[in-house]
Amino acid sequence: MLDPASIQPAVVSIPAAIPSPEFAWAGLILLLPVLAAVLSTICGARGVKGKLPGAITSIALIASFVTTLMLFLRLPDDAPRTVHLFDWVAFAWSGTAPNTSFLAPFALYVDSLTLLWMLFVTGLGSLISIYATEYMEADVGKGYARFFASVAFFLFAMGALVMGGNLIVLYLGWEGVGLASYLLIGYFYTKPSAVAAAKKAFIMNRIGDLGLALGGFLIWTNYGTVEYDALFKAISSGAAPAANASAWGAWAIPYCLMLGAFGKSAQIPLFVWLPDAMEGPTPVSALIHAATMVTAGVYLIARMFPLFSLDPNALLVVACVGCLTAFVAATIGMAQYDIKRVMAYSTVSQLGYMFLGLGVGTTFGAVYHVFTHAFFKALLFLCCGAIMHGMAGQLDLRKLSGVRTVKGFGIISWTFFIGCLCLAGFPFTAGFFSKDTIIAQAFASGNPTFAWLGWVALFTAFLTAYYTFRVWFRVCAGPQKYEAGDEVHSHDDGAHDAHGHDDHGQAHGHAHGHAHGHAHGHAHSHAAAHAHSHDWHPHGPRWAINGVLLVICIGALLAAVPSYNGELQHKPNWVETMVAHSSAASGIPSHEHAAHGHEAGAAAHHALSFTGIEDVHTATSVVASAVGVLGICVALWFHLLNRTAADKLRAALLSNGLTRWLPLLLENKWYVDEIYHAVFRLPSWFLGHVLHFLDKQLIDGLLVNGGARVPVELGRLFQPLYNGALQGYAATMAGGIALIAAWVFWIWMHGG
């Protein structure tokens, strides 16, 4: 085994993958979404007017989910498997070992981590696609096809990211989801804010992707392979790094990968794109920017955990960044008025928890939180979307109240409530168990830094409960009162304009306090021209939205079941078992490995159950429940029972010079966008203008145009010679020749 004096934590050997060509049909999981994307694009190109693209995509994604489920059920054991689909990149040459080849076949690496991810990706993808068939119906036509083609393409890319057997396929998927995200954020491409948000997301992600690419390069130079199986074999055998690898290169691998993960998963310092990504249609926010794509960073670190566990400092950085992000995003979420934006910051915050979990060494907690969060956050976004859909784009929580009692909004409100309970970490909900696993591990790890992070995480849990229920008590509870958003459209008229849809946060100044939601004076809404627009009523969703909400709500509740098994019946938590059988368990002594006499670093960790120090875990659960309930109670007081108190408190804080900064800081999102503007955009803008000036004056002006002036001026100098007299030309020529002859003669006389 390993040298105990080594600073490296114990590396659990990862079982070698079994090549399994008999599972080649798993490639259908990727192929079906591609087919759907192609067919939807054709529908768009042929001008299909109808819900055909939505139906195609939904069916393909359901089929993809069923294939994943079959793969999950048919696999006979927990050993990782590789499925070689086709040769893709294959180079070999005579170099210095181990860098003698570059092999990246289009292969799948299927282990329990892959399956867990793919189950919720394809499952939620199918449900959200069904939801979107109703949600996007105002756009039926080209936009509808474009939307579903992008969603289907996203599912393919996410599948490639998660199932790919090497870093190159992962990178393909990584860039693919980035592209799909860009296309869908910028879906309303005539709206400047959506276009800006799409560009912001794309550029921010590129910064992270640079890290991932560099990490991949360094992995190849150090280990001579980018295939997971060979890489894990090289790491667990403790093989010496390649001869031509440098020490800093090996050191930098986890930090480069981390940058990629922070970019994709919206962590400090690259988190500002995610809240703006809410410009996209809400199903996209739910699927891509809450449930699946943004967890790709967590997946990357979980998959590459063997590399991370070689460097405890890298994990410390991950934990600190995650914890800080969780806290900062939660504080911002407290002060936002746009409910989708609150949910966006909550996503950033929950992703922070996941990274905290990875950093403190509970990949199970992180992955379990990904899993539970996927359900309840998708649910919350879909509820926000359904409210927005029914309220003509209204997202301002000050302008919505008592939606619960509006006809047709009952299912939305109560599923929303359950989603909020999960997010707030209400005892015995899914979010409670997964979040506690992470916080408990922070306390149990025995590392004083991690314990500090655990306290911050607990405080953040309080903030989370507060801002979550602030939304629910404001929007769903209380007296019924609502205003239409600025995209009033009547549903008995088919001619909707797509581009005003999803316009949120642009609260217009009408404060009529409509009792029945009549919308007046929306001159900038295209629908205003319609005869029905002055007779607006909120409309509840139909079966597709309600059905999907119910299914996901049940999923969010059932996501806690693995923990009931684990905690109450003393059966292994199946999510934990799945994580323990994947590469994410490397370096993490779970109780299974402990049972096999794995004692390295025993004091520094805490086995989650069946040990004498179980009380740390229980204590965390009790404290976390208490802060969660406290947060809900504070929200109940300020946002349901005594709503004026919240405004009074805010006014009091603002009027006091000492405390003014607090609401201002939070409402302005810690001025992060402004800081980025000042630190990066302004200098770039300035540099750009300086370079533009130099280009215009120096390159264009002096060199190009100046160079062109030389022959022009010379020509002007000699122009009088061309006076049209033929003899004059001949005389000039003869004179010139005579001069040359005289010169030659002179040289001949004197030089010879």
Partner: protein, 114 residues
Amino acid sequence: MMPWTTSLAATDAQTINAALLVSALLFTCGLVGFLTRRNMIIMFLCTELMFQAAALALIAFGKVHQDLSGQVFVIFILTVAAAEAALALGLVVLLYRRRETLDSEAWSELRETS
């Protein structure tokens, strides 16, 4: 330089000097004629004179260097000059038809205008 090149005999040197002298005279005649006359046909004949002066010099130098290249050149020059003479005379005829005169001054508006 060809391998059969030998040193020159005294009589050869005199012949060559004479040939070069004739060549220079012919060239000067042509040049002076070209510069002083305005009739385009005469000017053209003068250019032919200068041309043949050059050809004669080439033959003389070929003799000096015992090299047939000079004579080969002249054969080529004669061929090209024949073709060029046909072209030039044709042009002169066309120019005459345009202005009804052979004076080259008639075309001085072809100058560069500032």
